[in-house]
Point group: C2
Chain length 155, copies 2
DNA sequence: CTTGAACCTCCAGCCACTGGAGGTCCCATA
DNA sequence: TATGGGACCTCCAGTGGCTGGAGGTTCAAG
C-alpha cells in the first residue's frame, strides 16, 4: 500500500493564476493584497514565481467574501485577525456585521430616494426640445432639496 | 427715483465662499470643477480672487443636483451641454436618466442581497469564542456563492 | 493700519484596485 | 533538446471624485 495520507493538503502549492481562477480574485489584486499585508508573502519557486498554500487559498477566499459583502479593508483586517485567534470572543465580528448592515440600510434608503426622484423626472419628460425638458429643468432647479438631503453618497 | 432695474442679476459677483455656502459644494470642489472644465473660469478681482456670476451659480447648482442623483461626470457633461442647446431634442437626457435608473436598480438589488446575507450571518451568531462564530465561519466558507454573484459592486 | 478670515496655487493623498511596459520563467510539445 | 507562447515577475502610473495641507496673498471690517 502506498501512503498518500502523508501528503497533507495544506502544503499544496498553487500558482497565482490558479488562486485567481479558484477565488475569482485577479492576480494583480492578489499581489496587491500581499503588498498591503492582507495575505502573507508566499513561498517562491527558484525563478521567483509565487507558490501559495491552501492556507493562502482559504485566507484569500475569506477576504473576497468579506469584500463582496461590502466590508472595508480595515474591517477585513480586524475580521482576519479575529479568525486567527479562535479563543477570543466574537463580539467584534458581531459589531462589524451590524455596522455593515446599518451602512447598507442607509445606502438602500438613499438609493430608493434617488430612484423615486429620477423616475419622477423621467416620467415628467415628454420629449421634444431641451428647453422644455423636465429632466433638465429639474436638474437646473438648484435650490431644490438643498437642505433635505445633504448626506452624500453619489449613487 | 433711482433705477435699480439696470443692475441685472446675472452680472452679480459672488466670491467662491458664497457659492459654496449657497450650493453646498465646497470651495475646493468648485475650483476642481473649473479645472475639469465643468464650470467656466470666472472673472477675477485685481488680487486674483474668483468672482462668479449668477450663471455660474445656476450651472453649479445643476452639477450638484446631478451629482446628488448619482450621475457620473461624463453624463453630467452631456447633460450640461444639452441644457445649453435648448432647441436640441432631449432624447439624450431621457436616455441618460433611464440608464441611471437602471444603474440604481441594479445597485438596489445587489445591496438587498448583501443585506439579506449579512442579516442571516449576524442572526446565526450566538456570541462566544471566535472559533464557533457563524459570521467568521460564513466568511471563511470561500467556496460559497462563488458562481452566483460575481457582479462586483463592493457595497 | 491692523487683524484675521477668506482666498490663492500647488501638490499629495484617499480607496481599492487596474493596466501597461518591459522583461523573465515554466512547461508541453516537436 | 530546442522552442514557442502563455504565465509570471517588478515597477509605476492612472482611475473617480474629490479632499486637505502647506505656505503665501488679499480683502473687508474696525
Amino acid at each position: 500500500m502506498d501512503q498518500p495520507m502523508r501528503e497533507i493538503p495544506a502544503a499544496a502549492r498553487h500558482a497565482i493564476g490558479e488562486l485567481a481562477r479558484r477565488t475569482g480574485v485577479k492576480a494583480t489584486t492578489i499581489r496587491w493584497y500581499e503588498q498591503e499585508g492582507l495575505l502573507p508573502p508566499p513561498a517562491r519557486s527558484e525563478g521567483g514565481h509565487r507558490l501559495y498554500s491552501d492556507d493562502h487559498l482559504r485566507r484569500l477566499g475569506f477576504i473576497r467574501h468579506a469584500r463582496e459583502l461590502g466590508f472595508a479593508m480595515p474591517a477585513i483586517r480586524t475580521l482576519l485577525g479575529l479568525a486567527g485567534r479562535p479563543r477570543e470572543d466574537c463580539t467584534t465580528a458581531h459589531a462589524l456585521a451590524k455596522a455593515q448592515i446599518a451602512e447598507i440600510d442607509s445606502r438602500l434608503r438613499r438609493l430608493e430616494a434617488l430612484r423615486t426622484e429620477l423616475a419622477g423626472m423621467a416620467a415628467a419628460c415628454e420629449g421634444g426640445p431641451a428647453q422644455d425638458c423636465r429632466i433638465l429643468e429639474t436638474l437646473a432647479d438648484f435650490e431644490h432639496g438643498h437642505c433635505q438631503h445633504h448626506e452624500h453618497e453619489t449613487g
